[in-house]
């Protein structure tokens, strides 16, 4: 049996099963029976991505299977094997979608099955920043449960996203190994066909971030090969079906690493036989050219971005630093070089082992940095990173910021020998590695003493107040430089963000100060200064230098971008935006929704569906991705009248933005409690009439605005 014979055989087998399953379903429910996956705007995402056709019911599914059959050619060429692999994957998607008929929920915890569009969009930023360096797809049953745990953990400690299919899921459960998207270990399902749910993530990434036209299979596969750092780990035995699925993976550019030695052919960088499972991690990373940024930190527990979402429950907690009840804070301060002793970690007060289990304690840490290129503006940039850094410690949970922090340290960490001092080690190591261009020396002082902290907290608040005053005074007019951000170009090659003091990057992760610091840290990097010159239209926010930058950094894909308009050359989106706004034509307002909100909007579209209207670096007048904090800015769609146009937002987003948005509205329109005038899902979901009634009822300012010039 040649390799191609195995692929063809596996493909034929899966095709047969799919055909029978569809025919059965039609016999039972009829051709008009709807089929869909939940929480996606891309129908059957794989089939849609490959063919450009959205399948919505069983009749169309049957027709689609006919199209799949045309891919199953049998020349002895890799093209035929690749296409048969793709055909196998599409069949798997068809089998999986049948499980979801009539609103069924075929997957139960810990398995995820189909993955939502929001999840895919959330992956954008961490993938481009290398925070998630790659995606491992582990398939089958490991030789032992211990080896399964070791393999998963090895990827997890590197921050990789791990997806699981088949017996390995039970093996992890047997060892009580924590899984879930918060720890980046996502069990998909136990049938081999459930592997399609991660393929679906990769293909939607191409549509969302890469602006690949659905149906452009050639560029689709080029995108996944060049830009999606995924690979497959498949445990022996490999039957023909798995070999056929493997051909599909390899077609997309994802190498397969296996310990199968029987009846298998090796292909460099594509199909690699590694009999020693303990070496799968380095073998896979090398095969997919994934480089792991190594930050070796001297602490007794793991440190990896995969632990960022880990939750420490009360019962598992050794001590808690609780800023809501006692005096706590975190602070970064610039000092003179002579005042800082590099790598000095000081703990004032009792260490963790001198404190009774379950205590709520007062704790503060002050990071003092010195460096020739250091600027006080960077203090807050560094400080905002502390949240993520401390969360990356296995068994430590951090929430909040400034003097409202809460930190839980788990019993497991305590038993492993974790000390307060280690918090200092992490802060030191991360500051020195991530900000090496500006920080020459760094020391950390941790104070575990309520009395001292009470005084110090007051002093820290003075610092915070001063910073806030500076930030508040910083407007688009008060600076002479804006910045580009093209961090996402690894993923979305023609998108350029223009970051100004009032308009942060659409991902919400890059403020003007961040961009400024990034330029300092990496002079040739993604954030390049744009000298603010040649303003040709103040209202739209049109600048000659901005246009030049956009042309240059989009490699000619874009000509003009305005900063403040939704209709005139609006800023493009990569795909990882926090929020999206879209025109609501009945009220002449705009609807905003955010990634976290899965429900409908009065536009009759969910976040996913609205998001699919734009992204990939294209301009779609009337739709625009943006960061949350832009909403409360005076500049938010200022060309069309400003935030007073907002007629609907999810309740959660309203609550987050209320304080600042109310202030802005008061200043701009003289309206009190503006946020309450904005409708949300508790008021109306899909009916624009209902929305209009509400707006009239509360006297929303949009009603007195001119219609849009569309």
């Amino acid at each position: 049996m040649t390799l191609f014979d195995r692929v063809f055989g596996g493909n034929d087998a899966v095709y047969g099963l799919t055909e029978a399953a569809i025919d059965n379903a039609i016999a039972q429910y009829g051709e008009s029976q709807a089929v869909s996956f939940p929480e996606t705007a891309y129908a059957l995402p794989c089939y849609y991505a490959v063919t450009g056709v959205k399948v919505t019911n069983l009749g169309e599914l049957k027709a689609a299977l006919g199209v799949v059959k045309t891919l199953m050619t049998r020349e002895k060429r890799l093209h035929d094997a690749f296409m048969s692999g793709v055909a196998t994957a599409l069949c798997a998607e068809f089998i999986e979608v049948l499980k979801y008929m009539n609103g069924a929920t075929p997957y139960e915890a810990p398995c995820y099955g189909h993955i939502s569009d929001a999840f895919v969009r959330n992956l954008g930023v961490p993938l481009v920043t290398g925070d998630i360096p790659g995606v491992a797809v582990i398939l089958g049953t490991a030789p032992s449960a211990d080896e399964a745990v070791e393999l998963v953990k090895s990827y997890q400690t590197q921050g990789m996203l791990v997806t699981l299919v088949g017996g390995v899921i039970d093996q992890l459960a047997e060892k009580n190994y924590k899984t879930g998207d918060n720890v980046r270990v996502v069990p998909l399902g136990k049938d081999v066909t459930s592997v399609i749910h991660v393929v679906s993530v990769a293909l939607r990434a191409a549509l969302i971030f890469g602006n690949i036209t659905p149906g452009d299979a050639g560029n689709l596969m080029k995108y996944t090969m060049e830009r999606v750092p995924a690979f497959v780990n498949a445990f022996a035995p490999l039957d023909d079906v798995i070999v056929a699925c493997g051909a599909g993976a390899i077609a997309l550019g994802f190498p397969v690493i296996t310990n199968e030695t029987e009846n298998i052919f090796r292909v460099p960088k594509s199909l690699i036989v590694q009999t020693d499972v303990s070496k799968w991690n380095p073998t896979s990373l090398e095969a997919r050219d994934i480089k792991i940024k190594i930050t070796k930190i001297d602490i007794p527990v793991s440190f990896a971005s995969a632990f960022e979402g880990e939750i420490i429950r009360r019962g598992d907690m050794q001590v808690e630093v609780d800023g809501s009840r006692v005096d706590c804070f975190e602070l970064v301060q610039t000092k003179e070089a002579a005042e800082v002793e590099d790598h000095k970690i000081e703990v004032v007060g009792p260490e963790i082992d001198e404190i009774p289990v379950g205590s709520k304690i007062s704790l503060s840490y002050t990071v003092e940095v010195a460096g020739k290129a250091m600027q006080p503006d960077f203090e807050s940039v560094m400080e905002r990173k502390i949240h993520s850094w401390l969360n990356c410690i296995e068994g430590v949970m951090h929430t909040g910021q400034r003097d409202m922090i809460r930190i839980r340290i788990s019993k497991a960490d305590f038993e492993a020998g974790f000390k307060f001092r280690h918090i200092g080690e992490v802060l030191y190591a991360k500051i020195k590695s991530e900000f090496e261009a500006v920080v020459d020396k760094c020391q950390v002082r941790i104070i575990v003493d309520a009395e001292q902290n009470a005084k110090l907290r007051a002093a820290a608040n003075e610092v915070f107040d001063k910073r806030d005053a500076r930030l508040a005074s910083m407007t688009d007019e008060s600076v002479d430089t804006y910045y580009t951000c093209i961090m996402c170009q690894a993923f979305s090659p023609s998108h350029v963000c223009i970051v100004t003091p009032e308009r942060l990057g659409l991902c919400g992760a890059v403020s003007w100060l961040d961009a400024k610091a990034t330029k300092e840290l990496d002079p040739a990097g993604p954030c390049q200064p744009i000298v603010k010159e040649g303003c040709t239209d103040e209202k739209l926010g049109r600048f000659e230098t901005v246009d030049e930058a956009v042309q240059k950094y989009s490699h000619g894909a874009l000509e003009h971008v305005t900063l403040y308009s939704l209709f005139q050359d609006p800023m493009t989106s990569c795909g990882c935006f926090e929020c999206i706004c879209g025109v609501e034509p009945v009220s002449m307002g705009v609807v905003i929704t955010c990634r976290e909100h899965a429900g409908m909007t009065p536009l009759g579209m969910s976040f996913s569906e609205m998001a699919s209207m734009t992204g990939g670096g294209v301009q779609t007048p009337g739709f625009m991705g943006h960061g949350k904090h832009f909403i409360a800015s005076h500049k938010f769609i200022a060309a069309e009248g400003g935030p007073g146009r907002i007629v609907w937002m999810p309740k959660m987003l309203k609550d987050q933005m209320r304080e600042r948005l109310d202030k802005t509205a008061l200043e701009m329109y003289g309206v009190e409690n503006f946020t309450d005038m904005i409708a949300d899902e508790t008021i109306c979901t899909e009916d624009p009439e209902q929305l209009l009634n509400y707006l009239s009822e509360v006297g929303h300012p949009v009603l007195s605005m001119e219609p849009f010039e569309m």
Binding site: L3, K76, R77, L78, H79, P268, S270, I272, Q274, T283
Partner: protein, 634 residues
């Protein structure tokens, strides 16, 4: 199926040539296109190999009425003798090139005109030959190796040293067939002796000696030429360059190097880059100096320095017809005597440099290893001073140019393969990654495409047509000589675009390895590199060379050297496909020996396939590769 739009087509190349022929008309120059017409039809006896003029009793021509020559030799003996002499001519030529290189090696010295640029390779070969290297000055070692190498040409006993590089199975076949080559010159002499009046007329014996004489070239003279050129001038590694007539620069002094021996062209390239020379060129109104090449000397300097390739064999007159060629500097082999009279129609200096290739209407500047620097400098200077003599009305450089990545020596190929190996599972420095691509079916096989141009075939059409077909079928190409230049001129070596012409398998290999799908392995002497690669594949896989899905092809060959090459490639176990008949169709017996199921195939497990219909030749090659796969069960 594929978008070939960014290729330069045969039609476009012909249009460029036609525009140059208008120049020829203006100055009343003679060109090969006209001479082909004058010579057509060709002599039927010559074409079928049935004319014998070895002694002065003849010439004897075999017809139905006159089936034997005066001495009584039948048609099979006559065709066989002609074929052996054809081979011996090529073998002598290639091998003498190798000998020149060994003499140059003997002249190397620290700080001299010729130096050792790859001492590691010298030491590696010395160890292979059992020469002590420890504590030896590299130049002492070079001189010692040169003497040993030169003895390979005339040693009284034993066989060629490099035969040991072949897989044991191949060596056993050679021994059993009695074709292990002895001293190189001896095999040529034996061939001449056997074909003298009154010696061999037994076809089987004549063909056996053809194989042996060929092997003395491929595994002897040529291999020494390649290996020690690498030692002196550096082992090629991937380098980007350009190809086709548009590489000549209108505003620059154009020096074209042509021929085969890199000893000359290396020096010309060196002095053309000399700031003093560039300044001199500028002082006389040029913007700079452009060296480009034609034929295999071009391949040599392209492989090592990225010097652009102006064209292949049948383009040699075109470079002069541009009216922008200040000097065409030649060494040996494949140089049209027509260049002399042609250059007289323009301002071009036609400079011959070797006592081996003396021609009328040329300026002869004999190149000596001791004075090579001065000689080269004088030539460059002469070209610069000639710039002002251009007739601007005649300047026409067709705007045709393609990017090419070249420089794939065996060492470079192994390095590329290391790049796709996985350090956790694979060993480095082997051909295994390539074998895995082949056994898995990602690549169906490989074709070694070589050889010249020949007016009997529309120039380059067979090379390019076959290559396109192979690429679509996931068959990787290793190429050399004028075939390589055809590929480069068309754009098939473009490191970015060419992969788009391939099937998914070859395309993926190109993407992962960062290579073009057509790998330039060098000049015609460098076909010895292909022998080494085939041997490594066989040793790494444990599969005899003849069973690997690898074939050789020379679709537009014309020279005696090509016949010698054909013999050693086929004798190494590689089925060889020819698009031009080697003057053997007059004898069924000889044709059967060379092409039949039970001729040389019984001795060396491979044979020739001759088909002048290129489409049919193509189908046969692919079928041969697939049949070999089938036999291996892959």
């Amino acid at each position: 199926m594929k978008d070939w739009a960014s290729l330069t087509t045969i039609e476009e190349m012909e249009a460029a040539t036609n525009s140059l022929l208008e120049n020829a008309q203006k100055v009343g120059a003679d060109t090969w296109q006209q001479r082909v017409k004058n010579q057509t039809p060709h002599c039927g006896f010559g074409e079928s190999g049935t004319c014998c003029r070895i002694c002065s009793m003849g010439p004897c021509r075999i017809t139905k009425k006159a089936p034997r020559g005066i001495c009584g030799c039948d048609v099979h003996g006559i065709v066989g003798r002609n074929y052996l002499r054809f081979t011996a001519g090529g073998s002598a030529t290639h091998s003498d090139h190798g000998r020149e290189i060994m003499h140059t090696l003997h002249q190397t010295k620290e700080g001299g005109n010729y130096q050792i640029k790859d001492p590691e390779k010298l030491i590696r070969i010395a160890k292979e030959w059992g020469v002590e290297t420890e504590g030896k000055d590299i130049y002492d070692l070079a001189h010692e190796m040169a003497e040993i190498g030169l003895l390979e040409y005339g040693k009284p006993f034993g066989t060629q040293r490099f035969l040991k590089r072949a897989p044991q199975h191949t060596q056993d076949l050679w021994k059993a067939a009695g074709i292990e080559p002895r001293a190189i010159d001896r095999e040529v002499s034996t061939a001449m002796h056997m074909t003298h009046m009154g010696c061999s007329s037994l076809p089987e014996a004549l063909i056996r000696q053809s194989l042996r004489s060929g092997l003395s070239d491929g595994w002897g003279g040529s291999m020494m030429g390649t290996e020690f050129s690498d030692v002196m001038f550096g082992t090629p590694k991937p380098v980007d360059t350009t190809a086709n007539i548009g590489v000549m620069e209108k505003d620059n002094v154009n020096i074209v190097v042509h021929g085969h021996d890199p000893s000359l062209s290396e020096m010309i390239v060196y002095y053309a880059n000399d700031p003093e020379m560039i300044a001199y060129a500028k002082s006389l109104g040029a913007k700079g100096i452009t060296v480009s090449g034609v034929c295999c000397t071009s391949n040599e300097v392209a492989m090592r320095h990225g010097i652009p390739m102006a064209g292949n064999f049948l383009n040699q007159e075109n470079v002069v017809l541009t009216g922008a060629c200040e000097a065409i500097v030649v060494d040996v082999q494949c140089i049209f005597p027509a260049l002399g009279p042609l250059s007289k129609c323009f301002h071009t200096k036609f400079i011959t440099t070797s006592p081996i290739a003396r021609m009328p209407d040329s300026e002869f500047i004999q190149f000596h290893a001791e004075t090579a620097g001065e000689n080269a400098k004088a030539i460059v200077k002469m070209a610069i001073e000639n710039f002002q003599n251009r007739n601007q009305d005649l300047v026409n450089i067709p705007n045709q140019k393609q990017n090419a990545r070249v420089g794939y020596s065996v060492e470079a190929i192994l390095k590329v393969l290391d790049g796709v190996a996985n350090s956790q599972v694979d060993e480095f420095g082997t051909t295994k990654p390539l074998l895995e691509c082949v056994t898995s079916g990602v690549l169906r096989g490989a074709v070694a495409m070589v050889g010249c141009n020949n007016p009997k075939v529309r120039p380059d059409s067979a090379h390019i047509g076959l290559m396109k077909k192979m690429l679509e079928n996931d068959i990787i190409l290793i190429v050399s000589g004028c075939s390589a230049q055809a590929a480069a001129k068309a754009g098939l070596m473009d490191p970015v675009k060419a992969k788009e012409y391939c099937g998914d398998g070859l395309k993926r290999v190109c993407e992962l390895a960062g290579i073009p799908p057509v790998l330039h392995m060098g000049s015609c002497v460098d076909i010895s590199r292909m022998l080494i690669l085939a041997s490594e594949l066989s040793k790494d896989s444990g599969i005899p060379i003849s069973q690997l899905p690898v074939v050789g092809c020379a679709p537009e060959w014309m020279s005696e050297k090509a016949v010698s090459i054909g013999n050693y490639v086929v004798a190494t176990g590689i089925e060889t496909f020819l698009g031009v008949d080697p003057y053997t169709k007059g004898s069924e017996e000889v044709a059967n020996l060379l092409q039949g199921e039970h001729g040389i195939k019984d001795w060396v497990e491979a044979r020739f396939v001759v088909d002048t219909d290129i489409d049919s030749l193509c189908d046969k090659m692919i079928a041969c590769i697939e049949a070999k796969r089938e036999a291996l069960g892959i």
